[in-house]
Amino acid sequence: MRVRVQQAAFDAGAELNAFSAGHSDVGAIVSFTGIVRDIHGGLVRMEIEHYPGMTERAITEFADHARARWGLVDLLIIHRHGPLPVGAPIMMVATAAAHRGAAFEAAEFLMDYLKSRAPFWKKEVTGEGAAWVAATDADEDALGRW
């Protein structure tokens, strides 16, 4: 299990290949990569603030939960902070399990928790100024299904 919170960019393809290598007991690997997208037009960059210490702690806690609940063989979580340009990868989750059902579900669970329970805050910077991204009820409701 690897959890990385970093400012540096990462290569999602290389990360996935490294994660996939060397498992003979895995039938399914699911990965998700989140990208900075320009929803309304005019986004200059995204800035992500985090709470050093609590971030790693919170992620490790729900990653441990996912590993036990879905019997994952391995998992990888990378989440960036700092200024990120449009099109850059923000975060990545990969799960490895015997079967795809567990790998998909665990990846979705981890995504939902990363969104609402890991202490990151997104700010969108446009030519007009900067605005903090508001959490939505849908994000919070998504936790209810787990």
Binding site: G34, I48, E49, H50, Y51, G53, M54, R57, A58, H79, I90, M91, M111, L114, K115, S116, R117, A118, P119, F120, W121, K122, K123, W132, V133, A134, A135, D139, E140
Partner: protein, 82 residues
């Protein structure tokens, strides 16, 4: 002495990321009341605690949680990771 941390728009409104304060507040809610009374910028930042979250020693907590033995309190808006 207790370390109080602020993140995101709360940090911007208060104007600092962290401060060490002397308090006899028994609960998070008492601490919030104490901060509100300090200055307008605190009163404004803490005007609606329903819009805020709190962590005690880096674990999410409720506003009625006791502060006894706590070294670090963090206030922030709902998280937006992923």
């Amino acid at each position: 002495m207790i370390d109080v941390l602020y993140f995101a728009w709360l940090r911007e409104r208060i104007g600092l990321p962290m401060e060490r304060i002397e308090t006899s507040a028994a609960t998070v809610r008492d601490l919030v009341e104490e901060l509100r009374r300090r200055e307008d910028r605190y009163a404004l930042a803490f005007s609606d605690t329903a819009a805020l979250r709190v962590a005690l020693d880096q674990e999410l907590a409720e506003f009625d949680a006791p502060l006894a033995g706590v070294r670090e309190v963090a206030f922030f808006p709902p998280m937006t990771g992923g």
